[in-house]
């Protein structure tokens, strides 16, 4: 009985989403203030019912209600409580519900902070968000209902896939979705601007904080996913360019371009149509990505044959949402051209290069991901694309872009040149060359051809990002949060590049079979297998080995890799043991029991791998810094404006 309440709540949410869409779009169009005001209320109502539906499903999981098919397939009475809750997003239906929940969270966040926006514009934005909500709710209710009953109820559940029974898994999807779905606000704001046919660039100011927050969340989500795969799968890999990873990476790349493009639009009114197109594209990639990996469209690269009729439904929804936005773009963008100029070596031109290169990078990833499908459709045979394609192809646009970041950061707006920053940049390059080449040839030997380039560029970006803050500090000038945010973000990028460069070239991997007492050397470290013992867990049994690591005779760490067998599904899982460190990670994973007490092991040394994720987190931190600083500044300005409004004429230009 309670379960049907959840379904009913979703139906109500669907109706409220329709109301939100209708009132939000028709209100301003037909100039009805009452309808305008109804949109935010509909949005709040939608949130309430979606939250209710989620609460009902969580309750079903927690109380082991196996009459609900979704619970029966994804949970089990032996499953620890924490994972019974996170199993909510363990499979398709529940993750759709999570999508919808996150969308309504962003929606009411927008409602809460939209007071300073013109009412019509805010209403239109809500209207577009309502359309998106409606599409997702319709899809979920008709094809992916998480509340479907299983009659007769299962005596016990199938258990959550063991690979998903992990703390990082609990946070990864919600954070990722906060990113993905967050771009819907930028999308909606852009559509509203296009609907209104605005010739000014106010909307860019409003769009920026939402974009940056979504971007920061997505960066965290991707980093978390990569890190989770690294320690969960245990083979030392952290990025496989598989369709699911690419689906989250592409919106992030376009989102990065969008943030930078917004800066130009906000500042000089340029690139308006670019920016709008990027706003539409970022969210469109989120949508396409979300559906590509669950609709069965990529059947040819997946061993499950999914339901094609569901896929057609999705395509129809994509056509409505994305097609609609692109029609708006074709209609309105031409009138948004601006007539200002800029020099060849100016901030604008660097950001132009940045935009172009990031879009190409996203296009390369997109092409590679869809290549098997395209080849198959055009009858070009079965094609398969993996890291050996993506790694070099991705670098084609990205390497030039990274080389330009350090300089681009300091280029002046409109008129050319670097001004005062020219000399410090050269010094920074000098130091970067020293440090980068020193690391490459001195500390870590045997580089690949690209390693010194990556090392130098990474260092240069970090140093260049520090020039401005250091200069301000020396001149006792304040450091606005927006500048700090930019520096931090770019430092994060530099750190990431450093990490990637050395992980790629200097990782060492050894596959060996060892008897207890035998050891093998991996780089400068000695790994000794000490034997192991059987273990018992709450819903698994297995074997736990011990590997002692020493370096030049002195002990470094002891690793305990495990091999587990989960009773319910009978699946076997390897749990790698990782000794983390900023300068390097050491890994040990069990392979197979080869008899006579010996086990096959995979042992690895991975230098600077943590920098990959730390860099991403720093980037996200930069974004958050900029947004928070902005809000503080905006509030201060509002207060100042309110104080002066009676005394001075209204300020026309901003």
């Amino acid at each position: 009985m309670v379960v049907e309440l959840g379904q009913f709540a979703l139906i109500l949410a669907l109706m409220l989403a329709a109301a939100q869409a209708f009132f939000g779009l028709a209100g301003p169009a037909l100039d009805r203030p009452r309808w305008l005001a109804a949109a935010p209320s509909a949005a709040c109502g939608q949130f309430v019912f979606v939250a209710l539906a989620v609460a009902v499903l969580v309750h079903a999981f927690v109380t082991d209600d196996f009459s609900v098919r979704y619970v029966a397939v994804n949970s089990n009475s032996a499953l620890p409580l924490f994972y019974r809750v996170t199993a909510l997003w363990g499979a398709h239906e529940g993750s759709m519900l999570l999508w919808i929940l996150v969308l309504s969270v962003w929606t009411i966040a927008f409602v809460a902070s939209a007071r300073h926006l013109p009412a019509a514009f805010a209403a239109r934005t809500l209207g577009i968000l309502g359309v998106v909500s409606f599409c997702f709710l319709l899809f979920t209710l008709t094809t992916s209902n998480p509340f479907a009953r299983l009659i007769p109820a299962a005596p016990d559940g199938n258990d959550l896939n063991p690979i998903l029974q992990d703390p990082a898994f609990a946070v990864h999807p919600p954070i990722l979705y906060m990113g993905y779905v967050g771009f819907s606000v930028s999308f909606a704001l852009g559509c509203a601007a296009m609907i209104e046919g605005r010739r000014d660039q106010q909307w860019a100011r409003w769009m920026r904080p939402w974009t940056v927050m979504a971007w920061a969340f997505l960066a965290c989500g991707i980093a978390l996913g990569s890190w989770w795969a690294y320690y969960e799968l245990g083979w030392g890999g952290f990025w496989a360019w598989d369709p699911v990873e690419n689906a989250s990476f592409m919106p992030w790349l376009v989102g990065t371009a969008l943030i930078h493009s917004l800066a130009v639009t906000e500042k000089r009114g340029l690139f308006k149509s670019w920016t709008l197109l990027l706003a539409v594209t970022a969210f469109s990639l989120s949508l396409v990505g979300t559906f590509l990996v669950r609709s069965g469209v990529l059947v040819s690269v997946h061993s499950f044959a999914a339901d094609p009729s569901r896929g057609v439904f999705i395509l129809a929804l994509l056509a409505v949402m994305i097609g609609g936005a692109l029609v708006l773009y074709a209609w309105r963008a031409p009138r948004m051209q601006s007539a200002v100029g800029f020099d060849l070596i100016s901030r604008e031109s660097f950001l132009l290069f940045n935009n172009i290169l990031l879009v190409i990078a996203a296009a390369v990833v997109f092409g590679g991901t869809l290549a098997p499908l395209i080849a198959d459709t055009l009858g070009l045979g079965a094609l398969s694309v993996g890291p050996p394609y993506f790694n070099p192809s991705f670098l084609v646009p990205v390497l030039p872009m990274l080389a330009l970041v350090a300089v681009g950061m300091h280029a002046h707006w409109r008129r050319g040149g670097l001004g005062d920053a020219g000399r410090p940049l050269l010094y920074a390059l000098g130091v970067a060359l020293l440090v980068g080449l020193g690391l490459t040839f001195g500390v870590f030997a045997h580089p690949l051809p690209l390693t010194p380039i990556g090392a130098v560029v990474g260092c240069w970006i970090i140093l260049a990002a520090l020039i401005d803050p250091i200069d301000r500090w020396r001149r006792h000038l304040p450091l606005p949060a927006s500048v700090a945010g930019m520096s931090i973000g770019h430092i994060g990028l530099g750190v990431f590049v450093l990490g990637i460069s050395f992980v790629q070239s200097n990782s060492i991997e050894r596959d060996v079979a060892l008897k207890p007492g035998q050891s093998v050397s991996v780089g400068a470290y000695q790994f000794r297998y000490d034997g192991g013992q059987s273990i018992d867990g709450p819903n698994y049994e297995g074997f736990r080995g011990q590997v002692s690591v020493t370096r030049n005779g002195s002990p470094v760490t002891v690793l305990h890799p495990e091999k587990r067998r989960y009773w319910v599904q009978g699946t076997v899982q390897t749990t790698a043991a990782i000794a983390p460190g900023v300068s390097r990670d050491l890994l040990a994973a069990l392979g197979d029991d080869v008899g006579a007490g010996a086990w096959s092991l995979r042992l690895q040394y991975r230098p600077l791998i943590r920098l990959v994720w730390i860099g991403a987190l720093i980037m996200a931190l930069g974004g958050v810094t900029a947004v928070i600083g902005r809000r503080r500044r905006a509030r201060a300005e509002e207060r100042a404006l309110a104080q002066h409004s009676a005394l001075a004429p209204p300020d026309a230009a901003r």
Binding site: S273, L277, V280, T281, S284, V288, S295, G296, V297, L298, V299, S300, S303, A305, P308, G311, V312, L315, L318, A319, I322, G323, L326, V327, Y329, A330, A333, P334, L370, L373, I374, D376, T377, A382
Partner: protein, 179 residues
């Protein structure tokens, strides 16, 4: 005006590709096998029931055959077993089994218990023959024509609808390059 229509045009193209991709999905047996239209890979395997007369791939010639790769450890093979028995009843096409990476005693007792749909069974203990046939997940079933050419491959448990809609129609077509 032209270049602003470009994104929409690209999107429509993408939709078309995705739509075609979806439409073609049910036609393929998930991943096209490169063996279709080619002669069936040669093999000589020990006969499960008779160690003195091994199972030769040559024996597949001269009549239509259904080659089924299975194992007692495979849950889905158990699911398709009753369908195989039904096909045997129809007596239109003999079923040749390849017991993949299995123990002979297990296979014998399994067949004794559940019934034997196979005319003959070869045992592939080290998996080499399975690799030659491009097998990557049991059960897999191959339709071989009298000339010994692979006409069709189905991955996953065989069901009556698949047998009737995919295998039988091909039987009535003249022998030749794979459909």
């Amino acid at each position: 005006m032209n270049r602003f229509l470009l994104p929409l045009a690209v999107f429509v193209l993408l939709l078309a590709v995705l739509l075609v991709g979806l439409r073609r999905a049910p036609d393929k047996s998930i991943l096209p096998s490169p063996l279709i239209g080619k002669p069936a890979p040669q093999f000589t395997l020990p006969n499960l029931f008779d160690n003195t007369s091994p199972l030769q791939s040559d024996s597949l010639k001269g009549h239509w055959s259904l080659v089924n790769v299975w194992g007692t450890w495979c849950v889905e093979c158990r699911a398709e077993h009753s369908v195989l028995l039904q096909i045997k009843q129809e007596a239109r096409v003999p079923i040749i089994g390849i017991d993949w990476r299995d123990h002979d005693e297990d296979a014998l007792s399994w067949l004794a218990q559940l019934g034997n749909p196979y005319q003959r069974v070869g045992t592939d203990h080290d998996g080499k023959v399975a690799i030659d046939w491009g097998v990557y997940g049991a059960p897999e079933s191959f339709l071989i024509d009298p000339a010994g050419t692979v006409v069709y491959k189905h991955i996953g448990p065989l069901t009556m609808p698949v047998w009737q809609h995919e295998f039988l129609p091909r039987l009535s077509r003249p022998a030749g390059p794979g459909a």
